[in-house]
């Protein structure tokens, strides 16, 4: 079964809107979880799953599939939403998020679902993605590896071990995307532990690095295309995003990093997203 392809930016925007609604419903049903990150990543996930990546939802272990490694595992709801809309499972199933016995664990688990990695402990995903990319090269498999990282997890030293490794082995089948939203649990990243210009840091480590607006579809698509053309080195796309994007009360609020909307808040969020949808639909 070929992946669902959306070929216009309008369709991709509508999909992101759908994913945001799915995330809100999932989190409200769960009663706990992370809201800001998944909402901020919705546009990138829309492009990755419905424009960029190759996969077969009827054969999740297809050896030729592109791999998505969600290093910041707390953003699980956006991964579940995108995979559900892509056909890996039914959307309604994801409403069991965080419930006992549900395969939709609070942080993704490859024991429970056909996700690439079990993640959550920060600073690990990029290293695992390196291992997967290396295996792809050893097997001359043409797949690409997309690793989603948070800005906060760049405070983990282990992240930089993986950055060096990917550069040493010239893993050009690896694209990392950093969700640069400037929030972490205790506040603003630059106050908790300054990260500065991540793109410059990656360049200094031997990577191709591109900074983009993580909500601008042209920029997302063009950065992924540039990554594909870059040979001999991995690419980091630093995506500047708005945490909580699309939901006014959560937008740019670090307090919404690690909590879920209550019923009334969810209702308001879904109303706002419905209004946004009408605006997108009215676009040419």
């Amino acid at each position: 079964m070929p992946p669902l392809r959306l070929n216009s930016i309008k369709e991709l925007k509508l999909m992101a809107n759908t994913l945001r609604c799915d995330v809100i419903r999932m989190l409200a049903a769960a009663g706990s979880g992370h809201t800001a990150g998944p909402l901020g990543l919705a546009d990138i996930f829309s492009v990755l799953y419905f424009h960029e990546m190759h996969y077969d939802p009827s054969n999740p272990s297809d050896p030729m599939r592109d791999r998505l490694v969600l290093s910041n595992g707390h953003c699980a709801p956006i991964l579940y939403a995108a995979m559900a809309r892509a056909g890996f499972f039914r959307v309604e199933e994801t409403l069991s998020l965080r419930k006992l016995g549900s395969p939709f664990q609070g942080h993704p688990s490859r024991h429970w679902l056909p996700v690439e990695t079990s993640s959550g402990p920060l600073g690990e995903g990029l290293a695992i993605a390196c291992g997967i990319a290396l295996a792809g090269r050893l097997d001359s498999a043409g797949f690409r590896v997309y690793c989603i990282t948070s800005d906060g997890e760049h405070q983990e030293g282990a992240t930089w071990e993986a950055v060096m490794f990917a550069a040493k082995y010239g893993l050009d089948n690896l694209v990392a995307i950093c969700d640069r939203n400037y929030i972490q649990i205790d506040g603003n990243t630059e106050q908790v532990m300054p990260l500065g210009d991540l793109a410059e840091k990656y360049r200094a480590f031997g990577w191709n690095a591109i900074s983009i607006n993580g909500h601008d579809y042209q920029q997302i698509i063009s950065a992924l295309a540039k990554a594909k053309q870059t040979k001999g080195k991995p690419t980091m796309i630093v995506a500047y995003t708005t945490p909580g994007k699309g939901v006014s009360f959560a937008q740019n609020k670090h307090e919404w990093h690690g909590k879920a909307p209550k019923a009334e808040e969810a209702r308001q969020a879904l109303e706002e997203l419905a209004a946004e949808r009408k605006i997108i639909e009215a676009e040419l």
Partner: protein
């Protein structure tokens, strides 16, 4: 001494060749590399020390050096494992698993990756490098992890077999290796079965259950005590993660008391594993002989071990105190 014939031991009183178990790890992985194209290996700037350089020189395209980065070592290995590779990684036990325990837990054990870990230079045996590098807590760290099989081989031949068993058995393995050379007293015919206790010599007054580099001195201790009229059984527990409960119970019933011997802290390692197993079947006094919750120090490995009573004389002394306690 009442040696168990099926164990096919060499003459422990005769001249014996010696080798470090890390050498066996390196030789076995290099051999497996010939047999299995799907095997890859990684090290963290200590390929020569942990002997994976043997694999690296034969299969340079399947060997990766991550530099001084044990956390990355574990996680990259997991990614390779998820992609269908059988992965051997090796570094100093003080840092692998000492430094990268969480990566081993999450990416290798929870992630169910087919990764075989060599923790080399373990124990006081490492000697001159001193306390920072004398890893005495690795068995405890690895033994508590779901999905992990932990092996502590007693000599070159057993280590070689352990690596082959790990290769043939899907799932995470931790194999503890020594820097120092150990007498090679088992033979190619000595049985090696995962999770099986190897009774090496029989006895009736006490049983010693030893692991790794402590198995050979335990046999010598038994011979010392035999001359004093004390009959001491010696068993080799190579699989720390999966105690052979039935065999331990049999030993407990037969001997009435057990002394465990390990080059490791007395909390959390072999001794604890034996206590856990016997406490739910046939509790008898278990005296845990090992490092008594302290750090080591520099000196020749044998001398450091002796200072902690971890040589034949020291083991005999403890065994003497506890024989015929029932």
């Amino acid at each position: 001494m009442n040696f168990v014939q099926e164990m096919h031991l060499k003459d422990i009183f005769g001249p014996l060749a010696s080798a470090a178990t890390r050498e066996a790890f390196g030789d076995a992985v290099a051999k497996i590399g010939e047999l299995d194209q799907n095997v890859v290996a990684l090290s963290a700037d200590v390929a020569g020390s942990v002997q994976l350089s043997k694999f690296a020189s034969k299969f340079p395209n399947r060997f990766f050096n991550v530099g001084v980065a044990e956390q990355n070592l574990a996680s990259v290995a997991a990614g390779l494992g998820y992609s269908g590779k059988t992965v051997f990684i090796g570094a100093f036990a003080a840092f692998c698993p000492g430094r990268n325990w969480e990566q081993i837990r999450t990416t290798i054990c929870y992630g169910e990756a087919n990764v075989k870990i060599e923790g080399s230079h373990a124990g006081l045996d490492v000697g001159e490098d001193g306390a920072t590098h004398q890893m005495l807590e690795d068995l405890a760290l690895m033994r508590c992890l779901p999905n992990m099989t932990v092996i502590c081989p007693c000599d070159y031949n057993e280590a070689y077999k352990a690596v082959f068993a790990a290769w043939k058995t899907p799932g995470p393995f931790y194999i503890r290796c020594t820097r120092g050379k150990l007498p090679i007293f088992t033979s190619e015919e000595t049985p090696f079965e995962l999770g099986k206790l190897n009774l090496l010599c029989d006895g009736s007054d006490l049983a010693i259950v030893a692991t790794g580099n402590m198995v050979f001195p335990s046999l010598v201790a038994s011979s010392i005590l035999e001359k004093e009229g004390i009959s001491v059984a010696v068993a080799n527990m190579h699989t720390i993660s999966h105690p052979d409960a039935a065999a331990l119970e049999k030993l407990a019933r037969h001997c009435g008391a057990i002394v465990t011997v390990e080059d490791h802290q007395v909390k959390g390692g072999l001794g604890s594993a034996v206590c856990e197993a016997l406490s739910c079947s046939y509790p008898v006094p278990v005296i845990r002989h090992g490092v008594q919750m302290s750090f080591g120090e520099s000196g020749p490995g044998q001398q450091v071990l002796s200072k902690h009573g971890l040589d034949a004389e020291g083991i005999a002394k403890v065994a003497r105190q506890h024989a015929n306690k029932r």
